[in-house]
Amino acid sequence: MEIFLDYLWVFLIGGTVCAIGELLIITTNITSARILVTFVLVGVFLEAIDVFDYISDFAKAGINVPIVGFGASLAKGAIGAVKTHGFLGIFTGGLTATAGGIAAAIGFAFIFSLIFRSHTKN
């Protein structure tokens, strides 16, 4: 029962975050690149003011799977690296924390673009 409630929260919060994105698209006609940038910045901000972890505790994948989580782990990496490595951490922290996601996105995109053809033209 508890796990069902957990998944319900994930569904509701994740869905709401996505619906906010859609609402931004409908009302302001902004492009998907700007949506993604906006949500990443929101994530960075939430982590910077130390709120993200509290949301993540009950929202789980509902906030970590949306790109907000990507922004939060960028900021979390930078903050953590500054604490352990000092000034150097400003440069190394963010990308170290998100290296897995970025490398996966680039790597799989490269492989699949070699394998598959464009579908829009035919």
Binding site: Y7, C18, A19, I35, L36, F39, L41, V44, N64
Partner: protein, 152 residues
């Protein structure tokens, strides 16, 4: 004066021509599709923690995101994700799968222009700004925390 009038007429014409998305159905679709993608992520995360109990929550999230990115990249390659995107709008853009889609989609699309100028350059048309803004803002946050750390 005439210019203003003409511009107004043009704007009205454009407004008529732009396809109107019906707000409520797309909002609802993006809500449940986005929610389902998050539930899928939670499911992958829970299964990973079940199989590898020694995994920390942070590395479990990293693995989950990589699997989601793989799935989205594959679905984009076979042309399914763009269909989901037409149906769900924000529900397919906001999750990390949308980020993956925004990298794979143009690189498949511009494959015909060659590996360097097609795939590698176009790959970052949408992801580029996301990574730039993300990295720069995280550096800013790091800098602020470093300065705060000097005084505490």
């Amino acid at each position: 004066m005439e210019d203003v009038k003409r511009n107004e007429a043009y704007n009205r014409y454009i407004k008529e021509k732009i396809p109107k998305t019906k707000a409520w159905p797309t909002l609802f679709n993006s809500f449940w599709v986005g929610g389902l993608i998050c539930v899928l992520g939670q499911g992958i995360n829970d299964i990973l923690l079940l199989i590898f109990p020694y995994l920390s929550q942070q590395s479990a999230w990293a693995c989950t995101l990589i699997i989601l990115i793989f799935l989205a990249s594959f679905l984009t390659g076979i042309g399914v994700y763009d269909q989901i995107g037409k149906f769900a709008g924000g529900g397919s853009i906001v999750p990390i799968t949308g980020f993956s889609n925004s990298i794979t989609s143009p690189s498949v699309e511009f494959k015909s222009e060659g590996i360097i100028y097609g795939i590698c350059v176009k790959m970052f048309t949408i992801a580029g700004p996301v990574i730039v803004f993300g990295v720069v803002s995280s550096m800013l946050v790091g800098l602020i925390y470093w300065i705060i750390g000097l005084f505490i």
